[in-house]
């Protein structure tokens, strides 16, 4: 490990309240250190006139697991796009659905150093970890799916928080996961009978529980377990007009339960844009972002945007009924997946068109959330690959920072004028500052994930650093082109104290860590023994099929929760 001095850069670090001060940063053995403890420099980076921030964190991107892999198989036409085909690096392909190396390289080139895969069936966790192990450059973690697991329903119906705690701890330990992901709670179970659930209080077919009970029990249990990242939810009724109401009800559930013990939020609503439509039919759909943003700002809830990008992409979620509806809508090819296990998902290729009123409203709604929710509560995401490729984050950042750029995009792309009626975007003159953008891509996701050594440049933090090739104090929203160019191609990315990207090109291939949470000490495991054995007596797979051993993971890092 080497010692790096980053001299004279303009530092922005919201975790220390630093906004554009000229400072030196010292890196040793993969950590940020004091000048006195650094020793002799192996490399000195002259960062004069450049902006130094922590490495970016993607809180929600489907970068590994059975769905993206099936998506790749279903969309070979996406693989025509070669990102890297020669040289010492590995072949990197894919326009939206990228190969594992492409995912790692593109994150690094954008200055991102951590990414979370947010939806994996526990049974397939072993495959997900193998795929994560093939993604270079970034640290990663995986969230197993709980929202449609029969045992979840059982403990929710019984209202048994202790058993739910033990179950969460068991499942996360078995899948080497990081937290609790819930997708359309109860809806995917209903999908197994060709149906869906349409409200939080509808009974889940075959069980006594309702989606509201499932969510509340999971939130309470994860608060009591003290998980670093609390419940990560894809709400019911996603992607249909009227979904804003369901989202508001979900947020109110968390409000009733309250914040975590450490004061952080207790619920993360992911890709909220897809769940924020008003109206009754597609014809009168509108954006519920204004109301929802106000609600999010005053409740213990965080969100990520789920911003759609105009163009082709492939949707994939563990929400089977929603994907079926999409397939019917676009008459496109599709895959229905994982229904035989504790989840059930679908994959459908789609195109977001600026001229389509519905897509235009989606585009505007995502941006409204990015502009209206506190920067401490909203994270930039495209819900990769559902909204579009994550390589467009710099584009989203620029849209949020410059009203002029938004107006230009609306004009040039011919965004349907229905957004004037259905959303507040055209009249919003909010322009995010660079400081806020750094929050939304670094410190806020780190806080939501409970990763204390990420998203910060404090002494002792992981040396994951991005150096942008512009002076953030001098770039005005008028110069959106400079911004976009600088954000797209970083001057340096430093990962664990090594320079991995220089001038937008990969300088070195490195392998990140996989974080997982061991919470088995936080709950009495014995109390669910009987329930587990009972379920697996009638299940098509045995209990032994669940489980990823730590030694099977390239660089595992355990976050142990004591008590």
């Amino acid at each position: 490990m080497s010692v790096i001095y980053i001299k004279g850069g303009i530092v922005v670090d919201p975790t220390q309240g630093i906004d554009g001060e000229i400072m030196d940063i010292f890196v040793k053995d993969g950590k940020i250190v004091e000048e006195s403890g650094a020793g002799k420099a192996d490399t000195v980076i002259d960062a004069k006139g450049m902006t130094v921030v922590a490495g970016g964190i993607d809180i929600h991107a489907h970068i590994a697991g059975p769905k993206i892999n099936a998506g790749r198989a279903m969309r070979p036409e996406d693989m025509k796009y070669a990102r890297n085909k020669s040289g010492p690096l590995r072949c990197a392909m894919g326009r939206v659905l990228m190969t594992c190396p492409a995912i790692g390289y593109e994150y690094a080139r954008m200055g991102y150093t951590t990414a979370i895969e947010p939806a994996t069936p526990a049974l397939y966790a072993i495959h997900t970890h193998e795929e994560l192990d093939s993604i270079p450059m970034v640290d990663k973690a995986v969230l197993p799916l709980f929202g449609n697991w029969h045992l979840t329903f059982k403990f929710a119906a019984e209202g048994d928080i202790e058993k739910m705690k033990a179950f969460i701890a068991w499942a996360i330990e078995r899948s080497k996961g990081f937290g609790v992901k819930v997708v359309n709670p109860g809806g995917v179970e209903a999908w197994k009978y060709g149906r869906n659930v349409h409200s939080l209080d509808e009974r889940i077919p075959g069980f006594e529980a309702t989606p509201a009970e499932v969510l509340s029990t999971l939130i309470k249990a994860s608060i009591e377990l003290n998980l670093p990242h609390k419940v990560h939810v894809h709400c019911n009724n996603l992607g249909v007009p009227g979904s804003a109401e369901t989202t508001a009800e979900t947020i109110k559930l968390a409000e009733k339960i309250g914040a975590s013990k450490d004061g952080r939020e207790s619920l993360h609503i992911t890709h909220i844009q897809f769940n924020a439509y008003t109206g009754e039919k597609w014809r009168d759909m509108g954006s519920g972002a204004e109301e929802l943003s106000k609600l999010v700002n005053r409740t213990p809830v965080t969100v990520d945007m789920g911003q759609p990008i105009f163009g082709h992409t492939t949707t994939m979620t563990a929400d089977g009924p929603f994907e079926f509806a999409l397939h019917k809508l676009f008459k496109s090819k599709w895959i229905n997946k994982d229904v035989e296990i504790e989840t059930g998902g679908g994959i459908v290729p789609i195109t977001y068109r600026a001229k389509s009123p519905v897509n235009a409203v989606q585009w505007a709604t995502g941006l409204e959330f990015g502009l209206l929710v506190d920067a401490d509560k909203v994270v930039i995401s495209t819900d990769y690959p559902n909204g579009g490729p994550f390589v467009e984050y710099p584009y989203i950042m620029t849209l949020l920072m410059s009203r002029k750029f938004r107006e230009k995009e609306i004009e040039e792309k011919g965004v349907n004028s229905y957004i004037e009626k259905a959303t507040s975007l055209p009249s919003l003159d909010v322009e995010r500052t660079f400081y806020e953008i750094v929050k939304m891509t670094r410190s806020t996701p780190a806080k939501i994930l409970g990763l204390e050594n990420k998203g910060t440049l404090k002494v002792g933090a992981d040396a994951d650093i991005t150096i942008y090739p512009f002076d953030c104090r001098n770039v005005s929203p008028e110069d959106y082109e400079v911004l976009l160019k600088g954000l797209r191609s970083v001057a340096y990315t430093i990962k664990d104290g090594e320079i991995v990207v220089k001038d937008g090109e990969i300088a070195k291939e490195v392998w990140g860590r996989t974080f997982w949470v061991n919470a088995v000490k936080g709950a009495t495991q014995e109390i669910i023994e009987e329930d587990l054995n009972e379920v697996f007596r009638y299940y098509t797979v045995s209990r032994g099929n669940y489980g990823v051993r730590e030694e099977w993971i390239r660089r595992p890092e355990t976050i142990a929760i004591e008590e």
């Binding site: 279903m74 969309r75 070979p76 036409e77 996406d78 085909k85 020669s86 040289g87 072949c91």
Partner: protein, 237 residues
């Protein structure tokens, strides 16, 4: 100008060289044209001998064995490529205009998703002539492919427009999921017309999908399984 290209040696791994007549415009550009030997990036002159003839044409002549060189004429828009020998996969893929003449045989994927121009093959071709690439919903959209010898399986899958003529025989699945355009096979073909939605196939002899109906004029129409309006004329009927 005319550019004559000869391989310097036999290639152990495949070369990807998206050579179009455009590179014949300037000697320096042609020398530095990027090609790939396996995963190594090379300049054209490192792998091939280049010779320029200063004339008024925009033409590339490939001399020698190109059977391990892929993607020749990819996305070409005009001019002429003459191959005096055999050539590798993906000849004239996404081609929009101009003409390619092959004096020898071709590998698979001749004219994949081509939109215009003409490809003439004096020998045989492999499979998937004028087809869609994997996952795409539309194959060849225009232009003309003439094969004087025989062709392999899957000729004109998902073809939308244009013409494919095979003077010899063709393999199985001629015109599967075809939507428009015309395929002519003068000799014998295997399974023909599966899931055909539109367009015309003329074939000397073939094993037609049973889901076709013969009309009063003796022309087969189908594929009825997909409510298709394709036409198949069997010349030796």
């Amino acid at each position: 100008m005319t550019l004559i290209i000869k391989p310097k040696s036999e290639f152990e791994v495949c070369v990807e060289a998206e050579i179009t007549p455009e590179i014949a415009r300037n000697l320096e550009d042609a020398k530095n044209f990027k090609v790939y030997l396996g995963k190594e990036e090379r300049r054209l002159e490192e792998l091939f001998d280049l010779e320029f003839v200063d004339d008024r044409e925009e033409k590339v002549i490939l001399k020698g064995d190109f059977s391990r060189v892929k993607w020749i004429g990819r996305e070409m828009k005009g001019g002429e490529i003459i191959v005096e020998g055999n050539v590798g996969m993906h000849l004239g893929a996404f081609m929009e205009g101009g003409r390619i003449v092959v004096k020898g045989n071709c590998d698979d994927w001749v004219g994949g998703m081509m939109k215009g121009g003409e490809i003439v093959v004096e020998g045989d071709t492999g499979n998937r002539v004028g087809c869609n690439y994997w996952g795409e919903s539309e194959g060849m959209k225009g232009g003309r492919i003439v094969i004087k010898g025989n062709a392999g399986n899957y000729i004109g899958e998902k073809m939308v427009d244009g013409e494919i003529v095979v003077e010899g025989n063709a393999g199985d699945f001629v015109g599967s999921e075809m939507k428009g355009g015309k395929i002519v096979v003068r000799g014998k073909a295997g399974y023909t017309g599966w899931d055909m939605k539109g367009g015309v196939i003329e074939v000397g002899e073939c094993e037609l999908s049973p889901s076709f109906v013969k009309d009063a004029e003796g022309v087969w129409r189908g594929d009825v399984n997909v409510k298709g309006e394709g036409v198949v004329r069997i010349l030796q009927d």
